[in-house]
Structures are given as C-alpha cells and as structure tokens.
C-alpha cells in the first residue's frame, strides 16, 4: 500500500462485491474513487453549515462562507497560488471554456492559437469554435513514443500566436510534457500560456511558475466530488477579463442599465456556487497532502513501470507512449493483437486490416474478470487519428491501487 496515510479501506466503494469478487478499478484517469474523509466532509457540511454563501449576515451563512473560502485557500496553497487567483468552476472543461469565452473573444482575425495533437477534446473544442472568426488553430505534433516535438512547437510559435494551451500530462499516452520550458517559450513569444492540468495536479507535485498564466483541473479526478473544478489565473489577467456567466453573486452594484462586477475570483462565479463540491475538494486536497504528492508520484511510477515490464512480456500486447516510466504518468493505453481467422482471411485477399482486437472487446473481456478499464478514443480523437487507431483500451492508476491490481490486470489480459 502506498503509505500509512492511504488505505483501500478508506474508500467505501471497494467494499462492494461484483459477482462475489472485488473490483480492480483501473480508470482513475476518467474519474477517481472517493475516500470516506471526502464523503464525510460533504455530509458534515450539509448537517452542520449549509446556507447560501456571500449573501446573508447570520451565523450559519458566515459558517458556510468561511468553509467555502477556506476551501479556496486550501486549493490555492496546494498548487502554490494565492486564493484570489482560484476560480471555482464545474470541471476542467468549464475552466477552459471560460477562457475561450473571455480571452478567446478578444482575439482578432488572423490571430493564432497553438495547442498539441495530444489534447483532450476539452482543450480543443473551446478553441476550435474561434476558427469561425478567422482565427487559426495550430497543432504541435509528437514523436513515435509520444514525446511532444518541442522543435515543432517552437517553429509554430508565430507573432500572431496569442494563446498557447497545452496538456501537462496526456490522458492517453501518459506523456508528461515539459510545461516549464513550453511556458518560457510561450512567454518569450508574448503568448498567453494555459495548462490543462487535469491529469497532473492530481498525480504529481505541481509548482506554480511565473510563466503559467492559467491552469485548469477537475476535483473529481483527485478524490474530490464531481461538479467542482478549478481555474487558476494570474490576478491581473483575471482582473482584465470580462465575466463569463452573469447573475447573482458576481456583482458589486446593479442599476437598471449598468452593473459593477465583483473582483476576481467572485466575478467568475455567477450564481450559487457548489459549496459541497468545494468542501469535498478541500478534504481531498487534505487527504493527498497527508500522503504527500511526491509519494503519490513515486507510487504511480512504481505501478506503471511494473505494468510496462509485464506488458512487454505479453507478446500480443502493444502499449503507447513513452517506454520510460520517468517520462509518463500512471496511464497506459494499449491494444491487443487479434489472430482470428476472419481478418487473416481478409488479408489473404489483400484487404489491409490492422489485426487488433477492438478496444471495447478488450474492455468487456476484462470486465468479465472484474477488471475495469476504459476503451474507445478517450475524448482525444485527433490524437487517435495521429496514431492511426480507432481506439485503445486504457488502464490507469491512483493512490488506492496496489501491486495486486497490476497482477490481476496483467494476468487477466494474458488470458485473452
């Protein structure tokens, strides 16, 4: 087990039996399971402090506001930011859309946005919508092992490139991108630098750097509840930006035909916020801090290199992304070769087919053995196109996984 501070027993869902057997949950890249500490924090909030925040003057409302704002400070501290730079959103997707509808709107025809071919759809579609206005979207490529092509990135940084938005860790290849270096290049070019940290903040120590303008991540991918996400933004940038949604909470003063908006971050939090989500996320952050993010990373790296080694022994399995666990996170996309007659027959008729099992079939096969992996395109279709694959299966790890999960996964896969 990872440390004294994290036990599988902390996670009530692992008590559940499926056909009398425990599950092997290997889909934490999609969402993580929740420890009792997080669930308790949410229940305690509703049982002890529930009121609308920032509005009323009675004690209970003060309690709720304090809890909400403390949660913000805890999240800020976790990534080395100040609390007034933390905007609560619904998830990474909403954080990135917020940027598209604020700084994205200020771009002009002929401006360019630079992203990579390994982005999740949520860091593609918010930018793609701007193409209708004559703004160009450029993609940085990657090499065979899934390392981002930094030379390609630098050559695509043009004078017109106003925004550079890059995933810190690929949710398919697992590649950890050199965001410090990319950020520096972006800033030297005068571009705004945005990080999709949905797969990094939950899994490794994250240190804020001067060159990071915006950072987006999701609570549900780091032991927290669904429906709470974070957008970090440099304060002066948040100040300059127009609001995203408008309504209650986010104003100082409203007249019949004009309004004065609140200061950041409240300016971006229109309407009643997700207080239970913020409280749950703060409890998750506390839980992760007790383990220590260095330890989280070490643990996942260990499980990853153990898995990669075992997969290399399975001759019919092909995995994607860097070979070296040092360069990747705990997410492994893979396929399994299919040697069935149909496809061989087609090949003998000179029909070219990739002889891989369909990823859904792999996932169903593993599901029958209570091993839960994701399959399909993982919300990264341009990435799949770059790999010339319709999809992959994907196994991913988190703090509650252990070597026994790796054993169960690999031995089940070996039966295929």
């Amino acid at each position: 087990m990872i440390s004294d501070f994290c036990k599988k027993e902390d996670f009530p869902i692992f008590k559940k039996k499926f056909n009398g057997k425990s599950m092997v949950y290997l889909d934490s890249t999609a969402t993580t399971q929740k420890p009792k500490q997080v669930l308790d924090a949410i229940v305690n909030y509703y049982e002890g402090s529930n009121a609308n925040v920032h509005r009323s003057v009675y004690k209970l409302a003060d309690d709720a506001t304090e809890l909400y704002e403390n949660s913000r400070s805890n999240v800020a501290e976790f990534i080395g930011a100040r609390s007034n730079e933390i905007v609560f959103t619904r998830n990474t997707t909403e954080s990135l859309n917020l940027l598209s509808f604020t700084i994205g709107e200020s771009l002009r025809k002929g401006d360019r946005i630079l992203i990579t071919s390994m982005e999740h759809h949520s860091n593609i579609l918010p930018w793609m919508r701007l193409e209708e206005r004559g703004i160009y979207l450029d993609y940085v490529g990657f090499d065979k092992e899934g390392h981002l092509d930094i030379e390609d990135l630098k050559s695509k940084l043009k004078r017109e490139t106003k925004i550079v938005s890059v995933t810190h860790q690929s949710n398919v290849l697992g590649t950890i991108n050199p965001i410090e270096e990319i950020g520096k290049a972006a800033k030297e070019n005068g571009s705004t630098f945005i990080i999709d940290a949905a797969q990094s903040v939950p899994h490794m120590p994250f240190k804020m750097k001067e060159q990071y303008d915006f950072v987006a991540f999701s609570g549900h991918k780091m032991l927290g509840p669904m429906g709470i996400g974070v957008l970090y933004g440099k304060y002066h940038l948040l100040e300059e930006m127009p609001p995203f949604n408008r309504g209650g909470e986010m104003i100082k003063d409203v007249d019949f035909h004009s309004a004065i908006f609140e200061d950041p971050p409240i300016k971006f939090e229109a309407g009643t916020p997700n207080v239970e989500g913020a409280v749950g996320l703060a409890a998750a952050v506390y839980y992760l801090k007790k383990i220590g993010m260095e330890e989280v990373r070490r643990h996942e790296k260990h499980l990853t290199s153990m898995t990669l080694k075992k997969l290399e022994d399975l001759k019919n399995v092909k995995y994607y992304g860097p070979r070296n666990a040092e360069e990747r996170g705990g997410v492994i996309a893979f396929n399994v070769e299919d040697s069935s007659n149909l496809k061989n027959d087609l090949e003998s008729k000179n029909v070219k087919v990739d002889r891989l099992y369909h990823s859904h079939d792999i996932a169903t096969f593993l599901d029958e053995r209570n091993v839960y992996v994701r399959s399909g395109h993982h919300c990264a279709e341009p990435l799949m196109r770059s790999l010339h694959l319709p999809g992959t299966a994907r196994a991913s790890f988190y703090v509650y996984n252990g070597e026994e999960d790796v054993e169960a996964f690999v031995s089940s896969l070996g039966e295929l």
Binding site: L342, Y357, H358, S359, H360, D361, T364, E381, G391
Partner: protein
C-alpha cells in the same frame, strides 16, 4: 471471449463480402468506436429483401450483430425490419449485452433504418 456461437460467427461470418448488383448501399460509421460498416441490399422488387451482405470493420459485437442481421433479413419486408423493437433486437442477440455495449449490437439496425428511410 464471449461464447462459441459469437466467436464462430466472428471468425466465419456468413454474409461478409461485397455485392456487385446491390440496389441499396448503406455506409455507416461510428467515429466514437471507429466502426465502419457497409450494407449492400438487394430486393425482390416488392419491398422484400432477397439478399444482404456487409463489409467493414468493427468490434466483435457489431460485426457479429451485422452478420446475423444480414442473414435474418433475407425474405423479410424492409418495413418490418425497420419497425423491429430495439429492446427485442438486443435481447435476441446470442449473449447478454451490458448497457455499455448496446450501441455495438444496434449498429446494423440503426444503419438499416437510416439508409432505408425514403424507401
């Protein structure tokens, strides 16, 4: 994987191949799965199917479902095939289908409905 009936059909499909003298050709692709299936249909001129074949690639469930669909279609009326109940269609598949895989099994029926709309 799955059961012998499914795997046998997957490995030796009855209706896989190209048809030259088709009357209707339906191209169905599911980008979410990467599946791509082409249905070739020939009728007897009175709205009854005299032959149906398929080509393409997909997961085992969609391929097998498509092959069964083509085989069972022969001699049936287009409209009655279109009008089949989704639930019954999935239940008639040789193995029990988990909710996450229903779309795979539904692929040929959906394609057929879409491609024969105006007929």
């Amino acid at each position: 994987m799955y059961n012998d009936e499914v795997m046998d059909r997957y490995q030796n499909p009855a209706k896989n191949g190209k048809m030259e003298d088709f009357e209707i050709k339906i191209d169905e692709a599911s980008s979410t799965c990467g599946d791509r299936v082409v249905l070739y249909i020939k009728t007897d001129g009175n709205g009854r199917i005299s032959n149906m074949m398929w080509q393409g690639e997909g997961c085992i469930l969609s391929v097998v479902s498509t092959d069964i669909f083509c085989e069972n279609a022969i001699g049936k009326e287009i409209n009655s095939l279109r009008g089949q109940d989704d639930l019954a269609f999935v239940e008639n598949f040789p193995i029990k289908i988990s909710p996450g895989r229903i779309n795979c099994v539904m692929l040929p029926l959906r394609a057929f409905r879409r491609g024969t709309k105006e007929k």
